[in-house]
Amino acid sequence: MKKNYYGAKFIITLLFVYLILFEFILPVNKVLPQPSQILESFAESWNVYVMFQSIVSTTSVIYVSMLLAYLLILGVLKIAPTLFASVELSSIKPMKYIPFIFPVLLFLFWFGASIWGEFFFAFVLVSALLKLEAANRLKNINREYLDVAVNLGLSRHEAAKKIVPKILGKHLYHELAEKHYLIWMVILFYEFAEKGNGLGGIYYRALYYNDFVFLFVVTIIITLLIWVGEKILVVIEAKYFNWEE
C-alpha cells in the first residue's frame, strides 16, 4: 500500500510557517524563540547542560528497567505460570485514582536524589504495570491451548509452563510498547522533582535559569528520543512477536 506521509507533511508545513514567521517576520517576540537561537542553543547544550550524560542517564534508567522488569515477570511466569492469577484486580482498582506524583515523592523521600533510587523507582513502576497486565491476560488465555496440551500427555503444570509464558510474553511486550510514553513522562517528572539527574533535571535547570530557548531544545531532543525508542520497540515486536492467536 502506498504511504501518504500526511504526518510528515504536516510537521514540515508547521516548521516552515514557524521558520518564516519567527525568523523573518517576528524575530523579537515573547511567544516562541527564533529558530536560529534554538540552533545555537542546541550546540551549546552539550557543554552547558551536560546533555550527553543526561541522555545516557535517562535512557538507561528507562530501557534497562523495562528490560529487567520484563525478564523478571517472564521468569516468574516460567517457574509459576499461574502465580498472578490470584491477583484480584477489582480490589486494587481504586489505586488508579492515586496521583502518580505521590509515589514519585515517596521514593524521593526514601532514596533522595540518586540514580539508584530513580532506577529502583522505574523498575518498580514497570514491574507493577506488567504484573497487572499479566494478571489481566491470564484470565483470558485460550483454554483450548491448555486442554490440548493436557490431552497430549502433559500435566496441567507442565502445559501451563510451556504455554503461559509464550502467550503472555507477547502481550507483556506489547504492554511495554503501549506504556512507553507514560514511562518516559513519569521518569522525566521524577528527574524534574529530583532537580538532579537526567533530562527531567535539565528541564528544571532551564526553568530555574529562565532559559526559554533551551526548554525548546530539550523538548526537541526528548521528542526524538521517544520517537526512536518507540520505533525500535515496534520493530522488535514485529520481528519476535509476529504471530496472532
Binding site: 486442554d147 490440548v148 490431552n151 502433559l154 507477547k170
Partner: protein, 249 residues
Amino acid sequence: MIELINVGKIYIDEHGFRKVLFKGLNCELIADKISTILAPIGAGKSTLLKILCRLEEPTEGEIRYNIPAPLIYLPAAPSSYPWLNVKDNILFGLKNYEEANFKNAIKLAGLEGYENHYPDNNSMGFRFRISLARALMRNPRFLLIDEPFLKMDYRTRSELYFLIRRLKSELKIGMLITTSNISEAIYLSDTIFLMKKSPGEIIKKIEVNIQKEESLDTFKTDEFLELTRTIITEFKKLDSENQLANLLV
C-alpha cells in the same frame, strides 16, 4: 468400544444456581466407526467430549473404555499454537518420534510442503489439518472432534469431510464428532445420536446406511434428503412437545 452409562453433568452457574447440563446419557461408540452427536448449541456437546477424554469429570454415571489409548481431543476453537510452525506443532509434547511417522501424518492431513509454515488464525481449515496431523502422530484409535467445521467456507468444509471419511476407511480410526449441522452429520457418520438441550438428553439413535461418494452429489441423493427430513421431523416433534409442555405449565 466406549460405553456411556447414565452419564450426567450438573454445574453451578455464575449466579449460584444448580444447572443440569445433560443427564442419563446412554450410548455406545464403536471403535472403528464415526458417530455423531447432533444437537443444538448449548446442549453440552463440548463438555461431553471433555469428559470422554478425561479433561473433566461427570457428576453422575459411568464411562467404560474398551479401546486402547490414546483418545485424542480436537476442540472447536483453533488449538494449534500460533508461535510454533507446523512441524513443531505436530511434534508438540513428543519426546521422540520416527521421521516416517511424521511424514505419514503430514501426508494424510494434506500438509506436505507446509512443515515450516506458521498457523494463521484466518485459515481455520489449515489449523484443523495441523490438529489432525498432531493427533495422527500419536497413532490414536479414537478421535473426539468438537464442532470442527464452524467458520469454514463450503469448499474447505467439503475437502475436510472427504478427508475424515478417508481416514476412517484407510486407518480404521473411530471418531465421535459433535455438530449442529444435519447434512454434515449424515455425510460423516455411521451412527447419529440426536440430542436435545435443557437438559441435554439423547432422544434417538439413527444408523446411516447411505452409499457415500467423495462428491458433493451425495448430499443431493434421495436417501440423503429423506434422512434429512426424518431428522428435521424428530427435532420439530420435540419442539412441539416442548411448546405443549409449556402450555400445560
